[in-house]
Amino acid sequence: MNFQIAVLLGQDGVTNGAIYALLALSILLVFTVTRILLIPQGEFVTYGALTMAAIQSGHPTALAWMLLALMLIDCALDLRTMLQNGFNMLKMRWIGLKLGYALLLCVLIQTLPLAEIPMVAQALLTLGLLVPMGPIIYRLFFQPIASAPALVLLIVSIAVHVAMVGIGLLLFGPEGGRTKPFSDAGFSLGPVLLKSQTLWVILVSITLIILLFIAFERTLYGKALRAAAINRMGARLMGISPVFAGKATFAMATFIGALSGILIAPITTLYFDSGFIISLKGFVGAIIGGLASYPVAAVGALAVGLIEAFSMFWASNYKEIIVFTLIIPFLLWRSLTSRHVEEEEE
């Protein structure tokens, strides 16, 4: 291997690693706040990529109908709770708003010349379709069992993953999706040509990580989510409802997933079932961080990306094996060094 190849592999590794880092952070975030291991995280990535691909090819995507259907179920449940607890004008207006939003997106998807609109608008449309699904998924599948043991949550999470893969096949078909790069420019750094999409991925990832950091350290809403993760009862007594925290983290997880999908769609071809392996690598990163430390998880995920890229060069047949074997020494190390800490303080 010469220098040039090493740089190329490193470039690939960092690009993938940045995406894994985003997913690792998202998995970690959802886990600490809700105790749910978000297996469907990868489906948000493939949905993001494939929706973007569908929009770019000018087909109105059936995803809009799915959003509308989910929204209808969600609103029906809202109405049922209102029937039990009495009429509430504010909630009624909120229901109207949600339905209006879903309908508006359906109309936009059907009428806009999707292939011709600028790429930013296409990306926004994709995010607009996908992000509301996160909170609805939480509302429908996890909110009713929020206090169940972690194992039950995991089982439901796997079920949601399997269902989403199936629905993905139905919505997007078995063909892979690949989108146009954000720009065609390339940058030469000495002898090496950097792809502009690589820079996009790295830049957006770093920006997002910094934004997440600021949100959680500086804003009261971010602190509220952290508080809900630290002490659920304490948070409830401050009026931070676990439902709110769950919906907010799921919205964030879908946003991160869908955005990751849009970012890597021009680099790799994604299929309806590619999500699992992607989120599994993010999960390895999260495990390296002990499902607790955000910076370690991000660095771990980056390492996963690099190891994957270099093992592709030496032993491409074994690249997945090498990456997933990585988890074993870390699990051993974790189980040997960490003592079991009771969650309750005092």
Partner: protein
Amino acid sequence: MTAQTEKLLDVRDLHVAYGKVEALTGVSVEVREGQIVTVIGPNGAGKTTLLSAIIGILRSKGEVHFDGQLYATPDVEILVGDGLGLVPEKRELFASMSVQDNLQLGAFQRYRRGDRGYETTLAEVYSLFPRLWERRHQMAATLSGGERQMLAIGRALMGKPRLLMLDEPSLGLAPLITREIFRIFADLRRQGVSILLVEQNARAALKVADYAYVLEAGQVAMQGKAADLANDPRVIEAYLGLASKHQELLSS
């Protein structure tokens, strides 16, 4: 505190059951505006259960009226937003966050509703508990027991509650700190905060309160003006004890 002031909290015929065991049977409690009301009683009488049921942590049967509104199924987040605060026995602080963050989160409901006046409240809380100001950048987990209690009370005050419910605020505290905390209750009342106080330290509680309930085996066994109850022979025998005169000195 006369009968003309408005009923802030009016709990009627409250029943709570853990499975088949009734922890509370038909408890009715009232707190009027500007009052300090205390609920005393032995361990296991249902004092903590009563507070948890009022704020909606536990499911209950009965009526909870707060600020003139009936809450058929009390819901923690809604009641907190409407101005009811609870300082639980376990304090439930955010251990790995700073003191200042803990306090700011106390104002989360206000912040969410667009009330940005919480910086003023923060200054007020700091002037009430100067110790918290000194420790504002420390993790809550590093505080001493008394400081944690101050933080728990301060955090509840950040939400500007109209009624503050406190569960065993003197539990595990040194007598001098207990006295300091009880003095703060009187301060709070002067600022217009009503207080529902659950206490084992009956002497101190009866001293500071206007009205008192004695809870025994999930039922209200006695009630009356705190000063009257403090002189009631039955209460003296069961909860105050003639021997523990030194407590009186500490709570003065």
